[in-house]
């Protein structure tokens, strides 16, 4: 057992009580903020439910000047973009992670992890801006389909954005694995590749799922990449070369319209869909995170 770091703190019961109160207040404020956001969203969406305009919002066509306010193309766009970005980012992220954790010489592994940490700090707009001038013309000239502001362009850039998130989350879960695993495997004569393939990968399957869910959540919540690169055309993603609009970009584009219009209300419906989606993602994380406590593969601190 390591020394209890709280020991000196515990000798001051008053200080401890103060800290407890401060933490409780902070928690209450945070929880109240989230609940009030949800309530506010529901309040703004209420006219949709009561006036029967719900069917108009959850329909297939967005033509605000012809009286059609469907946000389903945006829902499909958000899902397609996030899934595609996840599919593109997940394998390299896991590969990079195993390389840094098990296969690379320690110094190279540390450098790689530092690079991943650095990548998480790059503002989204930089990725978007660079892609507008480099990736968009490339995609347009190579693929000869569409304007270059397409689903695939946005997905490639977005995958670069979520790659470090996935890798870092998965790396954390690898680090939490029992080090005896590797010792045992090493003693049995497993090569590093075999260790990864037969020991670490099965043992860290929970971590894989967590990393994928978090990466997906990061992708679906992103606004700037899709706003700058996906073309914002309100249509269903029929191929990777179509321009699409995501829910987040839709909110950004329509928020400035007349606040009495149906178009404006569709923004709140989009917000509600996003909020529920993120809620589901969080629920999934809790669900799978919950089984981790009983996961015997992980070392007990």
């Amino acid at each position: 057992m390591p020394l209890n770091p709280n020991r000196s703190f515990r000798s001051h019961p008053q200080l401890e009580r103060c800290a407890e109160w401060a933490l409780l207040i902070a928690t209450t404020i945070a929880a109240a903020a989230i609940i009030s956001i949800l309530l506010l969203l529901i309040y703004f969406c209420l006219p949709l439910f009561t006036s029967g305009e719900l069917a108009a919002v959850f329909s297939m066509q967005w033509q605000p000047f012809a009286g059609q306010y469907g946000i389903l193309p945006m829902c499909a766009g958000s899902l397609a973009l996030s899934l595609l970005a996840l599919v593109l980012a997940f394998p390299p992220a896991i590969g990079v992670c195993f390389f840094a954790h098990s296969l690379a010489p320690p110094s190279a592994g540390r450098m790689l992890m530092a690079l991943l940490h650095f990548m998480t700090g790059i503002p989204t707009v930089i990725y978007g801006f660079v892609s507008v001038f480099l990736l968009v013309p490339l995609m347009r000239d190579w693929l000869q389909a569409g304007s270059g502001f397409t689903l695939i362009t946005a997905a490639l850039t977005l995958s670069l954005l979520i790659l470090p998130t996935i890798a870092l989350v998965f790396h954390t879960s690898l680090e939490r694995l029992d080090p005896n695993f590797r010792l045992t495997a090493e003693a049995m004569g497993f090569t590093p590749i075999e260790q990864v393939r037969h020991v670490l990968l099965p043992a860290a399957s929970q971590g894989l799922l967590m990393a994928a869910i978090l990466g997906f959540g990061r992708a679906i919540g992103d606004t700037l990449i899709s706003l700058m690169l996906a073309g914002n055309a309100a249509q269903f993603p029929t191929s990777p070369y179509t321009s699409i609009r995501t829910l987040t970009a839709h909110i950004a584009l329509v928020l400035a319209t007349d606040s009495q219009s149906m178009a404006y209300r569709s923004v709140f419906a989009s917000g509600l869909v996003l909020f529920l989606l993120m809620g589901m993602i969080n629920f999934a994380i809790r669900r799978f995170g919950g089984t981790r406590a009983g996961n015997s593969h992980e070392k007990d601190d």
């Binding site: 304007s147 329509v254 400035a256 007349d258």
Partner: protein
Amino acid sequence: MKRINGRWLVPVLLAGSILIALNQAYCSALDNFKGLEGTISIAGGTAHIPVMNDEAKNIMTFNPAVKITVEGGGTGVGVQKVGEGLVDIGNTGRALSPEEVQKYGLKSYPFALDGVATVVNPRNSVSDLTAEQIIDIFAGKITNWKEVGGKDAAIHLFSRDEASGTREVFWEKQLKKGTVAASANIVPSNGAMKVAVAQDPDAIGYVSIGHVDDTVKAIKLAGIAASQENAMNGSYPIVRKLYMNTKGDPNKLVKAFIDYILSPDGAEIIKRHGYIPLQQ
């Protein structure tokens, strides 16, 4: 000098004489800023930004005690922000609707006439289209440049967001309220439109004439060039006024800013950016 009361006279004269010595070129309209201090925040229409930035620069150079911030956001943001009292001046690229005036109690100051030009990439051989052709292109009925005399390449449509004043004018006056194909790419500002069209040899879009430069080519509408002169004499019909809007009557500093833009000095700057100044 009549406007300034005695309390301010000494420091103002002192500062004024130094500044006048430094800035012989600026006179009359900028004098209103003497002795004033504070901030003016401006947001809204993206067509206004080049003019606002230049005027703000002149004023802040003349009197560093005045701070002016200029943000974009588009016409819709302009109405909302000034209406909610978040900024002093909300710029719009269209006249306010009666509901907006009533809801927020806004006052409008039109200051320039702006045309909206249909633009293509400079490498595009097409340089003249009829109104019907433009309507059909944006509706998605004409999908290849060869149908309008260009090379064999798919047309890439670019349009603006729903809250854009530029889009509203283009849609009403050029497209005659026709549909825009759902496959059209949507960009959120005049600047983004210019970048998109400048990069894509097969693109067509529309920007305010003030934003037209060498990177994009303005299409002639049935032989009439989308130029300042033609917008002024009425032969180019896709025009609109640019407005500044305040919530109720402006304060002294904001009033001075509006007066400066409407002054002959302000008109010069408006002209320099390709817009046509309106007489006060």
